[in-house]
Every structure is written in C-alpha cells, then in structure tokens.
Symmetry: C2
Subunit: 464 residues, 2 copies
Amino acid sequence: MPQIAHTATSELLYLLHQDPAELREALAEMRPADIAEGLRDLPTDAAAKVMAALPFDLAAEVFDEPELAHHRCGMLLRMDDPTAGQLIDAMSSDQQADLFREIPEGERKRLLKVLPESARESLKQLLKYAPETAGGIMTTEFASIPANWTVEQALRFISEVGRAKETIYAIYILDPSNEKLVRVVSLRELVVARRDANAVEVGRQQPPITVSSDTDREEVARIISKYNLLAVPVVDDEMHVLGIVTVDDVIDALVSEHTEDAQKFGGMEALDAPYMDISFLSMIRKRAGWLCALFLSEMLTATAMQRFQGEIEKAAVLAMFIPLVMSSGGNSGSQATSLVIRALALRELKLRDWWRIALRELPTGLTLGAILGVIGFTRIVLWQHLHIFNYGIHYLLLAITVGLALVGIVAFGSLAGSMLPFVMKRVGFDPASASAPFVATLVDVTGLVIYFSVAFLILRGTLL
Amino acid sequence: MPQIAHTATSELLYLLHQDPAELREALAEMRPADIAEGLRDLPTDAAAKVMAALPFDLAAEVFDEPELAHHRCGMLLRMDDPTAGQLIDAMSSDQQADLFREIPEGERKRLLKVLPESARESLKQLLKYAPETAGGIMTTEFASIPANWTVEQALRFISEVGRAKETIYAIYILDPSNEKLVRVVSLRELVVARRDANAVEVGRQQPPITVSSDTDREEVARIISKYNLLAVPVVDDEMHVLGIVTVDDVIDALVSEHTEDAQKFGGMEALDAPYMDISFLSMIRKRAGWLCALFLSEMLTATAMQRFQGEIEKAAVLAMFIPLVMSSGGNSGSQATSLVIRALALRELKLRDWWRIALRELPTGLTLGAILGVIGFTRIVLWQHLHIFNYGIHYLLLAITVGLALVGIVAFGSLAGSMLPFVMKRVGFDPASASAPFVATLVDVTGLVIYFSVAFLILRGTLL
C-alpha cells in the first residue's frame, strides 16, 4: 500500500494531462489521503485544477485532510466564493479553525462571509482557543444523547446521525435538565449491552474522564493514550461539553510535538511549516535568535581565554587539547539533557526528583570521564613514544592534566546537562528548550576554567 | 482528572495499610490505568500485594496496561503458578509478547508451561517477530466475518464477541473459501448501513490498506495516522490476516520513537527502560560507546592544532577565539541536522532531494555566518577601543579574521549538518543517528582548518 503514496504526485500530474472525464474517473478511485498527499507537492494552480475535477464529496474529504493544511489557503483564493464556501462548510470544525488561523487577515473577513451564519458563529468561537490547547484541536461534531434513553434508542439514533459526526465510537450522555455531562459510553459497550437497558447504566460506572479547553495538547495526548480512549470530551467548569478531541487529532498533535521538540533540541525556534515551505527570511529569523544568544554566551570563552593568555603563551601545547577536552563536556551534557527532557515529558520524573538525578549523574559522569580520561592520557603518551609528535619533556604531566581535566569536565557536563531541563521547568519554560547547543555552551566556559585550573595545579613549576 | 494520576502511588501506599475489605473496595473504584501508574512507582513487594487484593477481572486489566511493562516480570515471580498463568492468559496477545521478551531466559520456560497449550503456541509465534515491527506490536484478537454475511448477521456477531476482541471498530471480511482478506469495514459503516445489505458491499469499495509483519512500527504509525484508521491489518504474502495493530499501540509506539529519537539526537544509544529503572552499568554502556567514538574523532582537532602549533606560538591571541568560532559551526550544524531529520521522518523530503536542501542551506548558512561575523568583529573592535583587552596593534586584522572565519564555518556547519542525515540514510543507518554531538565533532575539525586558513591569508606578514 505505501507505494501508492510515493507516486501520488506524479500520478496526479500525469492525470492532469488526460481528458477531464478520465481524470475524474481515475481520481474517484483514489483515497482522499493519497490525493491530499499528492496535491501537497503540486504547484497551487495544478492543485486547484485537480480539486475542481473531483466530485464534491471527495473534494470535501480531500480538503479536510490535515496533510493539505499549508496549501488550502492558496487553493481557496483561486476558487469562486460559492465553491469556497461549500468546501469550507463541509470541513470538520477543527480543520476549519486550523484553516482560518492560516488565512491572512485581509482575506479572512471575505471567506467568513461566504459561510452560513451558524458555521460562522461556531468557528469564531473555536478561533478563540490557543492552537496548542484542547480547545484549539477539538471538534464540535460529537454524538450526545439524553440520560433517559435506552440502549435501543441510542443505537437507532447513532445509525441515523453516524455519517455526520466526527466519531460515534464515544457517545456523550447528558443530563436532560441541564445538559451537563454525566457519563461517556462507548459504541462497543452499547453494542454488547442488552437492548432494553438504560444507556446510562451501560459500561463501567465511573465519572467521565474530561479535559478543559486550555489543557495542553500534549497532556490531552497523554490522557488519551493512558486510558486508551478514542476521544476525550472538552468541558467547561460546569461539565458542559464544548467539543471532543479524537485519537487521530492526538496523533497529529504528537507528531507535531515530536518535530517541535527535535527542532528546539537542535537549538532553534520550532518552525510552523514544512522545511521546504518556509521562506528564506523566516528561516533566518527562526535560527538567528538562538544562534546569536549562544554566540554571545560563548563569548565568555574568549574572556576566559584572555585570562589564561599567560598560560597559553608559556605552554602553547596546552591550547592543542582545548577543543577535545571542551567538546567532551558538551557531548556528555547533551546525552544527560536529552535523557532528562524525555523522562520529564513522560512523567517518569517530577520536578522534585532533581536531586535523585543529580546523585545518579555525578557517578555516571565521573565514570564516563574516567573512561575518556584514560583514552586521552594513552593518546598523548603513545604519540610521544611513537614519535608522532613531541609534547616536550613534561609530556607525562601534560597527559595527566588532560586525563584529570576530562574526568572533571565530563562529570560537570553530565551534571549540568541533567539539571538544565529542571531549571528550565522551574522558571516556567518548556524543559525541551534546553537544547544540545545550549548545554554545550554552558559547559564550554566552565570546561575551560576546569582545564586551566587542573593545568595550573599539575604543571606549576614545570611548564607554567 | 489528571490529578488522580499524580497521587495514585501514595493512595495505593495508604490503602495498603487499611483492612483488606476496604482495600478491595477502594481499588475496585479506581481505573485500571491509574492503578497501573500507581503500581509503577511502588516496590515490587507492595505492588504484588495490591495485585493480590484486586478482583481478578480488574487485576487482569491492570496487568495488561503497557505502563506496567517493566514491572510485570518482578510481580509474576512473586505469584504462584496458577495465578500467574491465569493473569498471563487474560492479557492481550501483544502485551503477552512484550512480557515474555522481558522475562529472563531461565524463568521463561517455567512461565510458558503454566499457559494453556493454545495460548503458548500463538505466543511462540508472536515472539518470532522483531519488537519494532508490525508483527512485534500486533495483537491476534480481531473480529473477522465471512464475505457472504449480511450487515444484520455481522452486527449480531459483533454484539456477541465484542467483549473478547481488542477492537470491534474494524471488521475484517474474509473470503470463505480461502480465508484471504477481501475488505475491511468499520463498525460505523455497518451501523449506518441497511441491515439486509451484504456486509462486503458496505462502505468505500477499495482494496484494504494493509501492512506486512516486518513493516517498521514507525511506518505503521504513519499509515494509521495518514488514513485515520483505528487499526491496520498485518497480512502475509497471500493476504491472510496475521493480526492487527490498533491505534493505541501506535500511540505507544510513537511515544517510544520520540524518546528514542531524542536520546539518539542527544548522542547516545536509546535506553530500553525508564531513566530511573536502568542500572548504572547499562547506563554507562549506552552512553560510553558514542562518547568514546566522538572523543576519538575529536582527537583530530588535537592533530590539526599540532599542525598549527607554529601559528599559535606566534600569535597566542588566535587561540582565544578557537572555542567561540568552533562552537558556532557546531550550533548551526545542529540546527540544520534536526530540521532535516524531522523532514525526512515526515516524508517531506526524500533522499533525492539532498541537492535542494544543500542549495537552501548554503545561503542560509552564509547569512547566519555573516550575522555572527558582524557581532564577532564588533566585539573585538569594541573591546580594543574600550580598553577592556589589548589584542595588539593588528587587532583590526584579527577582527576581520574572526569575522570571515565565522562566515565560512557557520556556512560549512549548516551544509554539513543538513547533509549528514542524508548520508546516514544513504548508507542504511537511521537518519536520526545523526546526533548534535556528531555534527559538532564533524564541524570542529574542519572549523579549525577554516579558521587557521583564513588567519594565514589575512595575518600573513603581520602576526604570522
């Protein structure tokens, strides 16, 4: 099956040159997700042409695919108002909200006008929620029934409204007097229940699992995954259902989080569009900020080096190992940071566990440092004895300096790297902002100080 | 709701000191996922005690939670054989396979023996698949019907077997003559269809989307997410259904992939257990490998520095900016690498797109390098004029050297960082293995050469 996906774009391009009837027929046999994936890589003009050739129902389904998200806007601007209005109206409410978040301010008013009154109002409502919260990814098309219905009534109702709802696998049972959520029952529980039973008495008798509209989408994902739900209701303070977040929205959210985390850990702001879609200028903007901040902090290394200028002039051989020694601290720090970021995200660790991690990272760092220290020591002694390079008569002291400095720097790197995400979280930032370059920079300056302090202790009276 | 989770462990600990009847009653009201999460942080003895107090059905559900994965083994060894056998038998087949992958070789035989013959055979079958493939995460409890049934028959069948299957939201229609998969129909499609229709004619008439047992779990996740499926069937070469992968397995797989990717990008082997559960020795093993490999490569910087020893001795002031200049290349490289890794994982980029990325990263890197270059240049000139540090009479040439070297190094860093994941993929590795420390190391050596080459060009005849 996956093969279909790889060729979807070229297939669509080929089809565009066939006669319209053939194009229509070939398209009708493709899956909406495949068409959407194919359209993604087409020029907007060609994509709009394909859309125009699709039967309306299929066009609506294709248009609803999150894969098309960054292209919908351009396509809409190439359609006449009635067609655009119909297409938008047929979208699910969460995708509508995503779409309008992307439409430039000027066009937004025009496109809102082509929508029917009711759709416009609920859309305006949805747009009030931040895009990374439950409110921002929820849909308002869910199936609800009053608490006094039987299983039989519920099943009949579901078979009637089934086509129009985002999911019918979770049914929300409301108190008929005040519309408050009293129970969630799954279609599975209904299907296996006695037909004349009261729907509210079916399944486990427990208060429903809910989230509020400002719950972070990552937390929503955690809850859906933990309780194996197909959807979770978003409720207000009085248990009125505002909408639901379905499991496929959560998967999309997880994939986006993964991408954002990776980009942040790489030391930049998260992009809000695919790599090839982002303009040159916004790419620079997203990257230059952190790069400059890191550069300015790293300037402290130059300041530190200036203080050690005397030592370097006396023993230029010391300078040779600076990059090696410093980078090892950054590398071990980067390992520790990535470990702790994920453990915090998965709730394996809590903020108050910081000292348990510190107590683990210190011996780990010392051991790793000792391993590298031995390799570093051996390297210098070996090069000297094999006459590859002449480090001078004090080569043994130099080797000891490098070895000991490595122990200290790697231990400090592990410790600092593991504590940084805790510090970020404590001061209210996303722990994932503790990037590998950030840790490296942090460790570099201290690493220099450690290196020259060890050198001073060991080489005083000989080289220094 | 989430509050429950945070206190589950302490609640369980408290309950353990109540009388058994009260413990039983309180536990019966908790959700399986919450009990599992609470048990996760309890000592194994206490956890086994809680398990013993649970009614069997609930105990089985708790035991089936993936959250308990790393603790099940220890609990089982504290139970008598009949209880252990019953619990294992009640688990879903994918969790059974996960469990037996964790059980030490010696105990495995004993625990296999307590299982009923049929369960043992299918388990042995499942254990043959690699844990990161569709076969490794699939379950064998799915609902299938013959192709000649009506919707009415199908619905009646589902209401009878509903409780025992992993999911009944996707129903697999098999050719009655040879058991081959002909169509997948969703419960939703069945529920809204005419009761006397043929089940096989319900829904979109397209060949089913399938995966094979060796499809990577990340690819399975991509397919489930792309086509918005609740489950995907795993088939052999002849379209016989071996099992299904459900959407909640995929979420767990996505979360694991995220963790693995983060750890790899941090420059280490992926851990196979939570941070606090892993032993000191395996932590060292997982981290020392890459750390040593990086250290050995980074030794090339020492070799490079040895070649430039003359320059450093003549102009120790040059050495001061080595850490600053080098780290900037690593930082921009780390940005580019994280961008490309994700774009490759999301299929936004394909292997053959490498030159398009190169053509984008080169101007991006040059621009970013120019920004840092101006800052670096200004820093040196400013320090000199404010009399913070005296770089000597040739400070302007030094400032130009640092500025130009930054342009070259940041551009090289961006280019190398963006190409590394392509290279990894091309030679058959996971592009995600292109870690931030890896890129930094790669760029460090070249960065030194660029720096000293620029210095030689500009400072020849003055400082050098």
